[in-house]
């Protein structure tokens, strides 16, 4: 008889239930299957009503993040064999309101991401005309922030962050890391524009450096490091302001 595995999946169908439930499905166990393959099998063969997000199946799009046994993971990158023969418990990413089954609402993150202005900002009058070409940057300058630019917005870091789960006003790891990525970009001049939000109470100072955001990041972005480095820069700003009261205020 073929080997099987059990998946205990969070179900929430707002039209028929006010509280979520867990439903257990038995799926074939295959060495080369990831959890997403098993969920797709359920959708195609067992229960077509199961709702979840996925797209690229190769760890690039960042759509398929779920909680697997309480740990946020991309379901396309988590192999069944790493859990076999135990039952796997699957839930939507922690910290976000649930819309249906494994689909959560990410509006809050999208708003924060917009507010952090994750793009190159030039000071007024310092933008080059297109015909003068691109802003040049050396490999050494790129190396300083490249790690922080690898974010795929999968939100695993938010699901790993207990601060965000307890207080969703926190701007959160990915958005701050992206802000820091542009602050460290030599082509950017928008640090002052981002600083009010990044250095606010809901920004870096809310972070208690649990560090799990970095531990679960599938792209090794290390948002915890980005936040701590932003804390250092903001502290230096503060000392500069205090020691030089006649200097230009930020």
């Amino acid at each position: 008889m073929a080997e099987t595995m059990k998946l205990e999946i969070f179900r929430y169908r707002p039209e028929k239930e006010s509280e979520p439930t867990f439903q257990t499905f038995k799926v074939p166990f295959r060495e080369d299957w990831v959890v997403l393959d098993a969920i797709n099998h359920i959708k195609d063969e067992i229960d077509g009503t199961l709702s979840y997000r996925w797209s690229c199946q190769m760890g690039v799009c960042g759509s398929c993040g779920i909680m697997i046994n309480n740990v946020p993971k991309l379901s396309c990158a988590a192999f069944l064999k790493d859990y076999y023969p135990d039952k796997i418990r699957i839930e939507p990413l922690t910290g976000f309101p649930v819309e249906r089954d494994l689909i959560f609402e990410m509006d809050d993150f999208m708003t924060k991401l917009t507010e952090i202005q994750p793009y190159i900002i030039r000071k007024e009058g310092e933008e080059k005309p297109l015909d003068e070409g691109e802003y040049l940057q050396s490999p050494a300058e790129l190396a300083r922030f490249k790690q922080y630019s690898m974010c795929i917005n999968c939100l695993l870091c938010y699901a790993a962050c207990p601060v965000y789960a307890l207080d969703s006003s926190f701007i959160g790891p990915a958005a701050i890391a992206l802000g820091q990525r542009y602050n460290m970009d030599t082509r950017d001049q928008g640090r002052d524009a981002r600083q009010e939000l990044i250095a606010s109470h809901e920004g870096i100072w809310e972070c208690t450096f649990v560090g799990e955001c970095s531990a679960v990041c599938p792209k090794h972005v290390d948002p915890a490091a980005a936040i701590q480095r932003a804390k250092v820069s903001s502290t230096i700003d503060w000392f500069k302001d205090v020691l030089n009261p006649w200097g230009k205020k930020k």
Binding site: V71, A140, P162, A165, F209, V210, G211, E212, R229, K231
Partner: protein, 127 residues
């Protein structure tokens, strides 16, 4: 559409081992702060004369006091080691395009710790 908001239980930190280690690290701060206050009290007793200092030292030699010191030592070591291990994340140094190895950054802090500890030990032991 009505979304479902999950409530975070007060026991969230018991769910996963890294969260437990984090909470222990937070707890160690109490012992670090407590020992700082203890050292201030020690200095204060020293200013109160030989008798006051001697009485205080006698209390410190009680088994309960020694046990409390050992517990504090364990927590302070945990505090120091976990934070030293995190320093390379904050102190990111580059030599040209290459990042200075994280082990070297943390290692510098450990080396400084050993050197200062040896100096303190030599002073205390009066060598």
């Amino acid at each position: 559409m009505s979304t479902y908001h999950r409530i975070v239980p007060n026991t969230w930190w018991l769910k996963r081992r890294p969260y437990i280690f984090f909470m222990i690290r937070e707890l160690t701060s109490v012992f670090v702060a407590g020992y700082c206050i203890f050292l201030l009290v020690l200095v204060y007793k020293l200013t109160q004369g030989a008798d006051a200092y001697g009485n205080f030292m006698a209390v410190l030699k009680l088994p309960s006091s020694v046990a409390l010191h050992l517990i504090t030592l364990a927590f302070v070591l945990y505090h120091t080691i976990t934070w030293f291990n995190l320093t390379p994340k904050i102190l990111v140094l580059y030599r040209g395009e290459d990042r200075v190895p994280q082990g070297l950054v943390a290692g510098t802090f450990y080396a400084g710790w050993v050197v200062i500890s040896v100096i303190v030990a030599l002073l205390v032991l009066g060598v």
